[in-house]
């Protein structure tokens, strides 16, 4: 029970931090913010690594493998595409 309370505390506080950090983001950056935060939500990859690497049964390994693929697409694709979008914004500043 104690562990649950600790986890819940972290969860709620992190949501508050999220609200504080992201309020007043300019509309220009809505798309990169979305794709960038999207990449961060690929953190499930950490969980997928456990499932794929623990080699418990064949089924859990297969589930883990697919999860690793999905989450890596999310992470790699998300960060790369955000970088690409932001690169287009930056060009103008350098000019």
């Amino acid at each position: 029970m104690e562990g649950l309370i600790v986890s819940l505390t972290i969860f709620v506080l992190a949501i508050f931090v999220g609200f504080e950090v992201i309020t007043k983001v300019p509309p220009t950056l809505h798309t990169p913010l979305m794709s960038g935060s999207n990449a961060i939500s690929g953190i499930t990859l950490v969980g997928a690594l456990f499932s794929a690497g623990h080699q418990h049964t064949q089924l859990t390994t297969i589930l883990g493998f697919v999860a690793v693929v999905f989450a890596t697409i999310n992470v790699v694709g998300g960060f790369l595409v955000t970088h690409r979008i932001l690169g287009m914004f930056r060009k103008k500043e350098d000019r």
Binding site: H30, P32, G36, S37, G47, F50, A52, G53, L63
Partner: protein
């Protein structure tokens, strides 16, 4: 590596995510922010691989290679106009991964023989529901934006009742899983029913409401990650997931506010207004009042203009006209005309969609004005050029309290001296209502495909 060190590294990764998101909310720091986020992810993944629970690396390596290749190809190849569906698809993969991880954890725990704790099971059930809704909802959103399925709202009688029943079924199945956890088939059933719910929740949302649903699915994908954190008792998942959940909710709220509608109205209420909007009333508003102009006539208007404001809409993305618009803007400036762009918050199919397209065409972002600033400039504007936008410039939002878009903040292009609207036809926008702007005394309609019309306008303007 000891558990304490691993957890400290996770804490560092969480801090990097927070710095990263903070950076992403300012243009100057955005690139660094994104890199910090990526660094945090790299750190989290690297220390996870040092955990003693992980005994085999072949499967992991294969999975990471496959995923990286697919993700990189998508990220590099996708055209900027297709960014909304790309983000939707990535969202979905994140949600799908969460469902699979929770399922694998449940299987492991059951087969070990120790009775799983209720808290673990509640987290598994929650991950299954949120993750499956995210996965299938995102796939439907992707299909709609990519044009694989109809982009219109798909509504049927009793839809909300059906959704409520299926939602309830998810909760009941979840409760059953928690009460009698020995059979993993229940998790499969739960994920299956939640998948149906994900599809049903997104099909009634169409067209101009897509930015809201994309932002909401973004939030869900974060929450699915946080729920997975509860399953695995892993703080970095909880923190990163809830940060993204909060960010998605903020964007959702901004989008709803820009349409003057509540989230509930966007998700469930639109069904009533779309089909019933009186299509016939368009005829008497437009009859004999719409002035169709040739590119030459429009060029004449621009020839005399000293200040022009361009208002892009989804039509700009559809006809890939961003580079032609850039050329027009440069030509006008070289002739001594001041050019600005007025961006409505929900123009396009995802938050910030227009900004990205115009940035791709090398239009400096200080020329892109937000709604309030743009509106104060329209009375001093010689020409407002509307490209493929409709509802966001419909003056009925200000004047007709019974209109479905009543009270929605709009761009007041009608206050400019002359309005030029580039549009294929007089067909209504997503709200399904006629637009009196098209029949206004100071409006010229330039009918045609956005890109083609602008190229013709440029050619005509060069003749002067």
């Amino acid at each position: 590596m000891s558990a304490a060190l691993i957890n400290l590294s996770y804490l560092m990764a969480s801090a990097l995510f927070i710095f990263g998101l903070k950076g992403l909310s300012h243009p100057r720091t955005a690139v660094r922010g994104n890199l910090l986020g990526a660094l945090g992810m790299l750190l989290a993944v690297a220390v996870t691989l040092l955990n003693r629970r992980i005994v085999s690396f072949e499967v992991i390596l294969a999975g990471i290679l496959c995923g990286s290749a697919v993700g990189a190809v998508f990220a590099v190849k996708v055209p900027m106009t297709a960014m909304p569906q790309m983000v939707a698809l990535f969202n979905g993969f994140g949600g799908g991964a969460s469902v699979l991880v929770a399922g694998a954890s449940l299987l492991e725990t059951i087969s070990v023989g120790t009775p799983p704790s209720p808290r673990f099971l509640v987290a598994v059930a929650a991950t299954g529901i949120v993750g499956a809704v995210t996965f299938w909802g995102s796939l439907v959103a992707f299909g709609k934006l990519q044009g694989l399925v109809t982009e219109n709202a798909v509504v049927f009688r009793g839809q909300q009742a059906v959704n409520a029943v299926i939602g309830l079924a998810c909760v009941v199945l979840g409760g059953w899983l928690v009460a009698v956890p020995d059979d993993p088939v229940r998790y499969l059933a739960l994920a299956g029913v939640a998948s149906v719910l994900g599809v049903l929740l997104v099909i009634p949302i169409g067209g101009a409401d897509m930015p809201v649903v994309i932002a909401l699915l973004n939030s869900y994908s974060g929450l699915a990650g946080a729920a997975t954190g509860f399953v695995l008792d892993n703080n970095v998942l909880i923190i990163a997931g809830s940060l993204v959940g909060a960010s998605g909710i903020i964007l959702t709220k901004i989008m709803c506010k820009a349409m003057n509608r509540s989230l509930g109205n966007v998700l469930f209420g639109i069904g009533g207004t779309v089909g019933t909007a009186p299509a016939a009333s368009g005829a008497d508003i437009y009859e004999g009042k719409v002035k169709s102009a040739s590119p030459e006539e429009v060029a004449m208007v621009f020839d005399a203009a000293r200040r022009a404001v361009i208002v892009p809409g989804y039509g700009l993305a559809v006809s890939q006209a961003q580079h032609a618009v850039r050329d027009l803007s440069n030509l006008l400036e070289s002739r001594g005309c001041e050019v600005e762009f007025a961006i409505h918050p929900v123009a396009g199919r995802m938050p910030g969609h227009m900004n990205v397209l115009l940035a791709e065409a090398n239009i400096p972002y200080d020329k892109l004005k937000e709604m309030d600033e743009a509106n104060s400039g329209f009375p001093q504007t010689d020409v407002a050029l509307v490209i493929g936008a409709n509802d966001v410039v419909n003056p009925l939002a200000r004047t007709d309290p019974d209109s479905p878009i009543a009270g929605m903040p709009i761009l007041d292009v009608d206050k400019a001296r002359t309005v030029v609207v580039i549009k294929r036809s007089l067909s209504p926008g997503f709200a399904g209502i006629p637009n009196p702007l098209f029949a206004a005394d100071n409006t010229l309609m330039l009918f045609g495909d956005g890109k083609k019309a602008i190229l013709e306008l440029i050619a005509a303007l060069k003749e002067f």
